[in-house]
Structure formats: C-alpha cells, structure tokens
C-alpha cells in the first residue's frame, strides 16, 4: 500500500490577489496584468532580475511558485514540478505569430520564440530554486484534479520525487489564474481529489 500524502501549502494568483494558504499577500484592484505582477513582485521582495525578461505565463508561474517554496528549503529536496493549463503558451505564440505575419514587418526574436513552449515556466522555477527534478507540463480543457492527483502520487510512490509542486497556471488574453500546491509526506491537508478541487476553488 502506498503511504498517505498531504498538501503542505498552496498559493493562488487570480483576481488581482496573490495569496498563500488562503491568506492575502498582495492585493491591487485596478491594474492590468503586467503592472499587477510587477508590483506584486516588488511588494513580495522577490529579488531576481531575470523576472523582467520572462513572458506573462512564466511571471505568473514563477511568482506563485516563489511564495509557496519560501516555506521549504527547496534546494535540499527532490521536488518535482507538474504544471497544467488550458492555453499552453498561446499568449506568447500570438506575439511570435505577429512578428512573422507581415513580410514588410518581419522581426522574429529568439527572446520571444523560446517562450512559445509552456514548460519554459517550469525551467524558470527550476533555475531559481535549483530543482534538478522530474517535470512535465499537461494541457487540459479545465482544471483536472484527478489526473494531477494520480501523477503526483505516482512520482512520490515510485520515489522519483520526494515532494511535488503541482497545479494550474493559465494566461490567455489578459485572463490569468495560478493555483499551485505542494504535495508532501507531511502536512495538515490530506492529498486527495476532493481537497485539491476545494483548494482550487477557494
């Protein structure tokens, strides 16, 4: 039998709010995403200059992971990263497409093109927290607690990972939503589909 795993902590970034375990860390109502995420980054005292060259999806995933991983000494742990969303990297895909659509105005850039993959945000989190671990990025039509649950359990049960940073990071047409949670052998909340769904909808 596999051991019981727990959700040790969780973070949200949505509706102009950054929160950790349901508690507001930053809130600013009347801002577009790029200004909101920049001010959130500053107010949370995240000192990491590479943040400013990231695309919207990576900024969203990076900040949601950063507030969550504050809680653990991530560099000593084998923490896998399993993320998912609906829009893949389409926000940046559209930017790259705009740069090649018009022959008279053709300017594809490697700095943009590299972000036309959803898993680049996992790379950004891995670099910051020195996580040389399992990672995968799934695309679902909607938040899929069942598939995430089984995959995280599998990684821990087979000892491919000690902990799993899981969740949903979606950015599409200025709509943004991040919900990350850390699955661990310790914690207060049972790791099951119902609890994942409950925390997601908080």
């Amino acid at each position: 039998m596999s051991k019981q795993n727990y959700i040790r902590a969780f973070s949200h970034i949505k509706n102009h709010v950054v929160s950790l375990n349901g508690e507001y860390l930053y809130h600013d109502e009347a801002l577009d995403f790029s200004e909101f995420i920049k001010r959130a980054y500053k107010s949370l005292d995240t000192s990491y200059s590479k943040f400013f060259k990231m695309d919207n999806l990576s900024k969203l995933a990076f900040l949601a992971a950063d507030v969550l991983l504050e809680e653990v000494n991530s560099q000593e742990e084998n923490i896998a990263i399993v993320l998912s969303n609906r829009a893949s990297s389409l926000d940046t895909d559209r930017r790259h497409q705009n740069s090649i659509e018009d022959e008279a105005n053709y300017y594809p850039s490697p700095a943009i093109f590299v972000y036309t993959l959803p898993n680049i945000c996992i790379g950004e989190i891995s670099i910051k927290h020195k996580l040389l671990s399992e990672n995968s990025f799934f695309i679902f039509d909607h938040f899929n607690a069942a598939y995430l649950f089984d995959y995280a359990e599998s990684l821990i049960n087979t000892k491919k990972a000690g902990k799993v940073l899981c969740g949903w990071v979606d950015f599409d047409e200025e709509n943004y939503e991040a919900f990350l949670y850390l699955v661990s052998d310790k914690g207060n909340r049972i790791h099951n589909k119902e609890e994942i769904t409950r925390l997601y909808t908080l």
């Binding site: 790379g123 995968s136 679902f140 598939y147």
Partner: protein, 381 residues
Amino acid sequence: MGKVYLSYNNIVSSFGFDSQSAVGNIAKEISGLALIEDEKIFPEPFYSSMISSEKLAKVFSHLNQAEKYTRFEQMLLISLKEVIETSGIPLTDKVGLIISTTKGNIDVLDADSSFPKERAYLGALGKVVKDFFGFKNETIVLSNACVSGVLAVAVAKRYINQGKFDHVFIASGDLVTKFIISGFNSFQAMSNEPCRPYCKHRSGINIGEVAASVLVTSKADNLPPEAVLILGDASCNDANHISGPSRTGEGLVRSVSSALKEANIEVTEIDYISAHGTATSFNDEMEAIAFNRLGLSEVPLHSLKGYFGHTLGASGLLETIVGMHSLCQDTLFTSLGFSELGVSETLNVITRTTPEELKTFLKTASGFGGCNTAAIFQKVN
C-alpha cells in the same frame, strides 16, 4: 510494480504511412530529408522531411469525408487509427489517450488558415482525437518541449502502474510551419545542408515533421514481435538555462542514472544508445560530456535526425519506435550524416548498418526549458 510494454506502433513520415516504410529506409541508409522550396514557410529553400499534403488528404479521405480536419489532425488520426485497429483493443474506461506535441495546430494562427483560431488550443486537438475514435477518458496532452515524445512513454507507464489505466495509446506529432522555421532561424540554429549529428562538419539542425503512435500496455498477451518492456525512465531538469543545455550535462546524467537505477541494470548491459543528436554544437557536445560521465562512451550510438530532421515533440517517440525495430531486427542503424567526430569527448557513433545481437537500448532526449528524459527498453521476444 507491474510490467509495462510498448506494443503496436505506427510512423507517418515522408517515407510512408507505417513504421515499416520508415525503418526499411533507415536500414538502407536513405534519408527522408530534401531541399524544400516553399515561400509560405520560409523565403529561402531549407532542408526538411515533410509529408505530402496530397498523399495525406488522399489516405485520409478513406477514413472520413464528412468533417473537416486540419493537416496535423489528419496525420495524427491516420497514425493512431492503425495502432488502435491492429491492437484490437476496445476503448473502455481503462484505456487512456496521451497526445504529445509542442505546437499542435499552430498553423491555424496564420491569417490565411481556413480553420477558426480556437483550433490552436491543444485541448481542442485532444477533443478532436478523443471524439474521432470514441475514447471514454479525457485526453492528456503533454507539451514538454523536445522531450515530450519519450516523456509520454514514461507518463503512460506511470498512469498504468498507478492503476488508472490498463492500456494507453500515445499519438505524437509536430508540423513544419512558418511559425517553427522562423523561430529556429532566429536562433541561427538552422543548417543549410542535411544535418550531421556529432560530426566535425556539423552546421546546425533541420526541422522535420512526423506523426508517431504507440500502444503502451500492461498486458503481455497479444504483443507484436517488436514489442519491448519499459525497464526504467526518468526526467531531470538542468536548472541551468531555458534555451541552452547544461555544459556539464547534469540533467541528462541524472536522468540516465535514475533510469538505470529503476531498471536495476549496469551500464554494460546497454547495447546501444538512441541519442538526441540535434547537430547543434551545444547539444551534441553536452551529450558527449554526459555519456562520458556515465561510462557510456564505448556504447554504439546514433542520432536519427539525419533521416527525419528534428521532429520536436514527436522525435522521442519516433526514435523509440525505430529502436524497437532495431532490437527486433538485431541491427544497429547508421547515424546518418556523420563522418568525423566533432565533440570533445569519445563517442562510438554507428557509421554503417551492422547486424548485431541486441537486447537493451537507452533512449535519451533534451529540450528547451532545461528538460532531459531517459528511458531504457528491453526486447520481449
């Protein structure tokens, strides 16, 4: 942990619409790369292996005439249909579907595409494939850069071992598009000749397109002769750079080590390596360093990019399927395009098609975002 196998398989490529056509040409050292002149994709001619749209539409018309499917969907559906049919497995609620791709229907973003822009969502692609065949479970789309194809095998195995599924069908693919070629060209990564992995005279990558499908199953009855057992797999990030590999090959070393540990075998039991070998200077050098650190420098190795180019999210699965046939035929396939070692450490690059008794092979892949995946496969029959 129960045993999990790779079973029935298909490759839709410039060589033809089944695995045999691809494997047969590889055995004869024939490349699928050709000079493509298509200004809608790129203003200059470029080397690639592309699937004839005419032939594709003709074959697809036998499958379906009622609805309109994109070129990419046609490739995936043709490929997956053969695997589902030859396996004879009914699509119950214990059967999963994984689609592995980096960009899917990205060409619908083009202004002149006749398809709605919503078709670019990978979830929409997942639904098209699910509905076409009548899968009971929601599609799992995996988009993890250039390791997607081989990582999909690991993901399928993990869901099977977790008890979620008995069988998983994987369909993988990526297209050659203006989107992709313009992007890789902006990196100055494109070669203006057929690519030459690990060679001193290499000058960059070619991008190619395929669709490749396989059945991953926990059932040992009803396996084809080329079936293999998945001994071990792992995926480790470099945590170093988003668009360049680690100079020490750290993520790849950890991936292979972890896969070996799960397989519970020594490096000496690896009969050959199907490596990533994109023919960029950084990638090939990183792999050479990693394989030397692992004690694998003497093991025969090839890259198949000289036959297909780099087929992105499909490459890992495509190359795994070719590896299954390589074991079945007891033949080492040539690393096409190679003439003289062009990396700083020793590698045993396969320079001619060689009959040899084979039992076990290692497949590796690396990609943007710092990802690496390794998987070890063993002959069943």
